[in-house]
Amino acid sequence: MIRFTFPDIVRGLVSGLFWTVGLSLIAFLGGGLAGFAILMARLSRNRIVSRAASLYIEFFQGAPLLMQLFLVFFGFSLLGFNISPLATAASVLTLYAGAYLGEIWRGSVESLPRGQWEAAESLALGRWAQLRLVILPQALRISIPPTVGFSVQLVKGTAVTSIIGFLEITKAGTMIANATYRPLMVYGLAALGYFLLCFPLSLAARRLERRFHAPADKR
């Protein structure tokens, strides 16, 4: 049996943490693009497009993330494609984040008074100009706090990818705990890792929330 020193344990966990961060970033950026596409589809006047987008949202919000991972991971191997844990994790989390971000942003757009659309429309702005110049700038402000809040969920959500063998911090922790028989310490350190990632994000989300809900006095 290999003997793990404390620095070995920390090193193992930090390299897992690195992949947690990487996966989170990929999922957030990919999910941002997917979410924007979903937002546009939801706002489309084409009923079919908008309905398809809401089905997408319902599916990815309705099924447990774990099931989505299993479906993609085992589904593709059944079909004879060998898809790596990273590719599986990245694509599933991207689709998952896209659904949530799209829904958050749609909520922000829809929280704006109808009068904003109508004023823009009455000034002969086309649909895209209405969105770009009037609606999105206002929706963006509203959506920043919940978007940052969701990023915390996403970071924690990456933990489930350990199940399919993706070596992020939870998977690293499991392996090290099994080898060292010191699960409490190892998982405690892993939890500390998540905390170090998520706490600043939560803090930022709360700050932003307060700032955007403060009475508009100074600009």
Binding site: G115, E118, A119, L123, P137
Partner: protein
């Protein structure tokens, strides 16, 4: 000369409820028309159809000799000719007063920034707000916001301006400054269609009074005549109520 606005036999239903049942309205160039009527009689709906915010189910609409269909391209052409001011101002809160006015001339008419800026300055001066160019809407009083909204609509140089109860959301002491702007526009020859509850103002400023009732124009004519000799009991009753309601102003 053909009328500037020619709406003929306009029908509009929401769900099963028929709000407009063959409304006919003609407004000549330079005319100031006031639309009055009970709440729910379809005044706002008519105005919204006139600038394409709603499409009508049946009827004929032409503005400035151009026939309007429900197609999007036509509606944008319609909106270039027809400006609208809303009860709730609907200023863009993320933009300054000046930027509110500049937005459409820049985005739709492709004016350069300096051009749009000088146009906005001119328009804001016209409503007495030259010095509030850089103020955000939430830094302005309701009356000032509504005047910015008027300037914003006028910056597109519409042929006609539609005003839907533009003083109803204002504190009483702020109503006067907005009506003053409307009065100036009327004097300058702007074509106006005003939905209003300000009966005294309608009588003083408007050339024509249009009384909507049950989704049609119940009666119309010169304000003085309509007020003194209403032909229908509905209008007589409406004038009686409105007279009491706005007695305080």
């Amino acid at each position: 000369m053909p009328p500037l606005i020619n709406a003929d036999g306009i029908h509009k239903s929401f769900g099963g409820m028929e709000v407009l049942r063959g409304t006919t309205l003609r407004v000549d160039e330079g005319e100031v028309a006031a639309v009055i009527g009970r709440s729910g009689s379809g005044k706002s709906t008519l105005l919204r159809i006139l600038n394409g915010l709603e499409t009508c189910d049946a009827g004929f609409l032409s503005v400035d000799g151009e026939r309007i269909s429900g197609l999007e391209r036509d509606l944008r052409r319609l909106r270039l000719k027809v400006g609208m001011v809303f009860q709730q101002f609907n200023l863009f809160p993320h933009l300054t007063a000046g930027e509110n006015v500049m937005l459409a001339p820049r985005a739709v008419k492709r004016l350069s920034r300096p051009e749009a800026k000088s146009l906005a300055g001119e328009m804001l001066a016209g409503v007495g707000l030259a010095d509030r160019f850089d103020a955000f809407p939430d830094q302005l009083s309701g009356g000032q916001q509504q005047r910015v909204a008027i300037a914003r609509a006028l910056a597109m140089r519409p042929r006609v301006l539609l005003c839907d109860e533009i003083t109803s959301a204002l504190d009483p002491e702020l109503v006067g400054e907005v009506l003053e702007v409307v009065r100036k526009l009327a004097a300058a020859g702007m074509t106006l269609v005003l939905v209003t509850h300000e009966m005294r103002f309608a009588r003083e400023v408007c050339d024509r009074l249009v009384f909507m009732h049950n989704g049609v124009v119940g009666e119309e004519g010169k304000p003085a005549e309509l007020f003194s000799r209403p032909q229908t009991p509905e209008l007589a009753a409406f004038i009686g109520q409105a007279g009491q309601g706005s007695a305080g102003r």
